[in-house]
């Protein structure tokens, strides 16, 4: 259920940007730590896009790394997306490991958003 309102919103945003053209592909950017499950978005998309110009469009998901900032040295560490790994475990592990500087605690600095990066539309003939 969680993804339904997000999916509705992304369809409306894409249709608005497409300005009456048929949509072929929607490029999405998902924070690895966001609670968005692409498979679930796809299920809702198939239903909610029916009879719109987005029907049949491909969804392309790009995962954004989790980033952590060190409160002592200011360094920003990225935890790149790993499909087989649970992001919450990755985050917990990174918190336990701490910053390589050895001094500072890490805090969460990025990796949660859900954006529409772009929309691919049919070329006008």
């Amino acid at each position: 259920m969680h993804e339904m309102p997000f999916t509705q919103a992304l369809i409306e945003l894409a249709l608005d940007k497409a300005e009456g053209k048929k949509i072929l592909k929607i490029h999405l950017r998902v924070g690895w730590l966001s609670s968005i499950v692409p498979e679930s978005v796809q299920v809702f998309f198939d239903h909610l896009s029916r009879d719109t110009l987005a029907e049949g469009a491909a969804l392309d998901f790009e995962f954004v790394p989790i980033s952590l900032a060190c409160q002592a040295c200011g360094r920003v560490l990225d935890l790149p997306y790993q499909p087989s790994r649970n992001p919450r475990q990755a985050l917990a592990q990174a918190f336990r490991d701490g910053c390589p500087c050895g001094a500072g605690k890490l805090s969460l600095a990025g990796g949660l958003g859900f954006d529409v990066a772009g929309v691919e539309i049919e070329d006008s003939v």
């Binding site: 919103a9 497409a18 805090s107 600095a109 949660l112 954006d115 529409v116 772009g118 691919e120």
Partner: protein, 237 residues
């Protein structure tokens, strides 16, 4: 042909929320968005807030629940005005729902607007309601792992209220554990430890909130709307 969009999926909601924020700024109404798991004590905190600040400020509460007006009735009984939203299963409030309620409200006599979101630690996080401050209420029996399990919710909030600290003697978890876990996810959090049952710690909460409401009322001129949309809705990025 590819059209660059670079917008949060929630951009339309952010736009409505920005308009709400602007209106609340013009009307000098301080607005809280309360987010918590079901049973953490959001409504109890609202009741205690009405009891503590209702004499000084006009308080309006927008109650969100999947069903029933039970919470709205509690707010009314506590002495404040309440609008009850029933989402009929919907798992969070969005800015449009709040806008509908505020469109039928006269905010002239309101200084503090409290929005109680649907009991849910996950879904409400992404939906801006135009609030000044987002408050997460987490109660002691929920344990200290929630900030890590629901990082969006804790990282987007400015305040954490740890409720039910009176249960401390009976539970292995300590309020300090919850505080530490939450600060890991969001070092900027302001944390209050309270018991809505015994009243412990509520003075600090009421003092903080009273100050913030007073500051907003004293602001001059229309407030600038906060730019919330834009490409990276990632609040941390």
């Amino acid at each position: 042909m590819i059209i660059s969009v670079e917008k949060a999926v929630t951009a339309q909601n952010d736009l409505i929320a920005a308009r709400l924020r602007e209106r609340l700024g013009d009307e000098k109404v301080f607005c809280l968005n309360l987010i918590a798991a079901p049973g953490a004590g959001k409504t109890s905190l609202i009741e205690k807030t009405i009891a503590g600040l209702g004499g000084r400020f006009g308080i309006l509460v927008v109650e969100g629940d999947p069903r029933t007006s039970l919470d709205g009735d509690r707010v009314t009984a506590a002495g404040a005005r309440a609008f009850q939203i029933n989402t009929l299963g919907g798992c969070h409030l969005d800015a449009r729902m709040v806008q509908v309620e505020l469109d039928r409200a006269d905010l002239g006599a309101v200084d503090l607007l409290i929005i109680e979101n649907i009991g849910n630690l996950l879904c409400p996080a992404a939906w801006d309601l135009g609030e000044d401050v987002r408050v997460v209420v987490s109660s002691l029996p929920e344990g200290a792992d929630k900030p890590l399990k629901y990082p969006e919710t804790f990282s987007l909030a400015q305040v954490l209220v740890i409720n039910k600290i009176d249960l401390g003697p009976f539970l292995p978890v300590k309020a300090a554990d919850i505080r530490a876990a939450a600060l890991r996810v969001n070092p900027g959090l302001e944390v209050f430890e309270v018991s809505c049952l015994t009243g412990a710690g509520l003075d600090q909460w009421l003092t903080w909130l009273g100050d913030r409401v007073g500051q907003k009322m004293a602001e001059l001129g229309p407030k600038d709307p906060l730019p919330r949309s834009g490409p990276s809705r990632d609040p941390l990025g």
